[in-house]
């Protein structure tokens, strides 16, 4: 029974079954996430194919430097996640906590840089809506590019915020001593989620930022 407070929930026969179930659950959830972002990527592909020049012109307004820095920040955060999982397997609770905090800090740094970028776009009147103004290429399809830019990176940012919240939850559990070598699937499955969100960015970065670099 779960009321006993032990790590084994009452519906499972043993810890191995519980662990396999939570891992499969997260993988299944990630499949749904692939489909969710897949819809966006499909839309992006359609319009990029229809308006290649305008998409490139839009892409050139993005800040490749800030985008690259963010890419590095996220890759580092994936590394800290791997280290957190590794230390959890070894039962080094203090190290687990430290790596989780490092991950959260890196995640927050990513979001801060993203906000700075959004601020720039706001001042440049590149946010789709009544005030949208784009000179150079055909304005209407360019608006589509920025529509996708904000929706795709926005959805990604929402996932980052959720991820940081999940890490806070895992951290709280870990500080109560609930992460042990035998039972640390929380660290693992939130890690899976975090890696997935990173991978989404690995696709977004070239599609949005590097597109304009090639002509």
């Amino acid at each position: 029974m779960s009321e006993t407070g032990g790590p084994l929930a009452h519906q499972f026969a043993d810890l191995a079954q519980q662990r396999e179930a939570s891992t499969l659950g997260m993988w299944t959830f990630l499949v749904t996430e692939v489909m969710f972002f897949g819809g966006l990527f499909a839309g992006y592909a359609v319009y990029r194919h229809a308006f290649p020049a305008e998409f490139m012109a839009g892409s050139r307004t993005l800040d490749v430097l800030l985008g690259s820095v963010n890419t590095v920040v996220l890759i580092c955060s994936s590394l800290t996640v791997v280290l957190a999982v590794h230390c959890a397997q070894l039962g080094q609770t203090r190290a687990v906590n430290a790596w989780i905090v490092a991950t959260m800090v890196l995640g927050a740094a990513f979001l801060a840089i993203k906000l700075v970028e959004y601020g720039h776009k706001w001042h440049e009147n590149l946010v789709p809506g009544p005030g949208f103004l784009f000179e150079g290429a055909n304005e209407t399809p360019a608006r589509l590019f920025f529509g996708f830019y904000f929706v795709m990176t926005g959805m990604h940012a929402v996932h980052m915020v959720v991820g940081i919240g999940l890490w806070a939850w895992v951290l709280a559990r870990s500080m109560r001593g609930l992460v042990t070598p035998e039972h640390h699937s929380h660290v693992e499955i939130v890690g899976l989620y975090w890696h997935f969100v990173d991978i989404v960015w690995i696709f977004l970065f070239p599609l949005l930022y590097l597109l304009g670099a090639h002509e």
Binding site: F12, T32, M35, L40, A50, G147
Partner: protein, 550 residues
Amino acid sequence: MTSQSPSPAPAVHARRENYLTAGYGVKSWLLTTDHKRIALLYLISITLFFMIGGFFAVLMRLELITPAGDLVKAETYNKLFTMHGVIMVFFFLIPSIPATLGNFLVPMMIGAKDLAFPRLNLLSWYLFVLGGVITLWAVISGGVDTGWTFYTPYSSVYANTHVIATALGIFIAGFSSILTGLNFIVTIHKMRAPGLRWSRLPLFIWAMYATSLVITLGTPVLAITIVLVALERLFQIGIFDPALGGDPVLFQHLFWFYSHPAVYIMVLPSMGVVSEIVAAFTRKRPFGYGFIAGSSLAIAVLGFLVWGHHMFVSGQSVYAGLVFSLLSYLVAIPSAVKVFNWTATLYKGSVSLQTPMLYALGFIGLFTIGGLTGLFLACMGLDVHVHDTYFVVAHFHYIMVGGAVMGYLGGIHYWWPKISGRLYPEFLAKLSALILFIGFNLTFFPQFVLGYLGMPRRYHAYADEFAVLNVMSTAGASILGAGYLLPLAYLLWSLKYSKAAEPNPWQATGLEWKTPSPPPKDNFEQTPVVTHESYDYLEGADVATEAQVV
């Protein structure tokens, strides 16, 4: 034999503890993580939504008694069919069998104590209720008139009704259905009792597994589509707006990528129910077990490749149309495999025509008509003639009401003794199954003719020559309505006044019948060990498993 621990037989209590008596009070229900109680929460919620959705249908059929638009205005009629569709599809049909019978039976049929994630299961119900409340708020505060399909640019630019609120409700309810599907997939993979190999699983489990695959793969695409429509309405990002360079047909692609497979979310579970019922009431192993199980998966996969047949007149490429048409024909193969296998199971079986069997036979006949008329619509040339007519309306009601709802009601009757611990009144139940069958056909068969003759759907007024068939349809709808109210009445009645049910009133096989009715909180006194396939009728009912029963 192979029981795990030969513990002494549990003492027989005069009033044995079961999941219904395991706790009283509102809190024990609203905070429950017991899959059986959550199934009942869902059962109550979707019944309420069914009545609301039915109410809009009643108003529509009343309007259509006469050719003139005399009862409601055209705008009101638009809202009526939209809200009927939205509520029936997203808040009744999609959750119907998975969230009620599936929630109740998946753990029981595989010999588990609960689903893999009981709290997620409860969360799924709360999300469903939240989505439902938001949608109902939209309904009460003025309604929505886009049709349940939310086609752009009407929904994203022009409609002045509560599109965003309705979309938000559907978005949230979508997550409830994703969580249910995810829970089932993990549970079926990881929680099966010892010895319960995939090849021994009940066909209902195969159907729920296939359904869960469709739910988890399709629903997220609907979610992002809804987000895009809402953003389009709020910020004019232009994705679906031709004035801004966008393409409204892209919306149709994304929408039907979910919404066509959604048809299989509705009907696959019913097929699973029918497989169980046909086996139990012919006292035979289903003919071609492997084919029935495999055809569920085949339908789930092929169902994702046919969405373009909704768009033959949308301006999509003729070649795309040809491919979609061909693939749509292919779905008929696994569907027909099921129908032929059920029919073959009847052969030389000792058929007993109890209520669940009446519903199952009704399903087979009505689903066949619905499926065959679907082939008419999958044919590009014919589709142009009947597109957007009552022929389409009749076709999908044969699948969704004649198929999905018949299966749902059949399943509710079949497992009612297990769920409630009470027998339902057999005579009344048979009578209402008959009333439903007659009422359904009288309502919807004339609509095939109306559509073929050219009556378009979604109009509150029509030409005089269609009057007779419309009166027939409305008359049928009133019979159908009575057929729905009757089970509601006698099933509620049976809770208090009917005879208590034995553990296995049908002498059926399957783990859920090896445990008391209603089941104890943890489903089984001890984990069952399975040594045979689920359907073991020839060798007698009790060999399927060594599960110990009180």
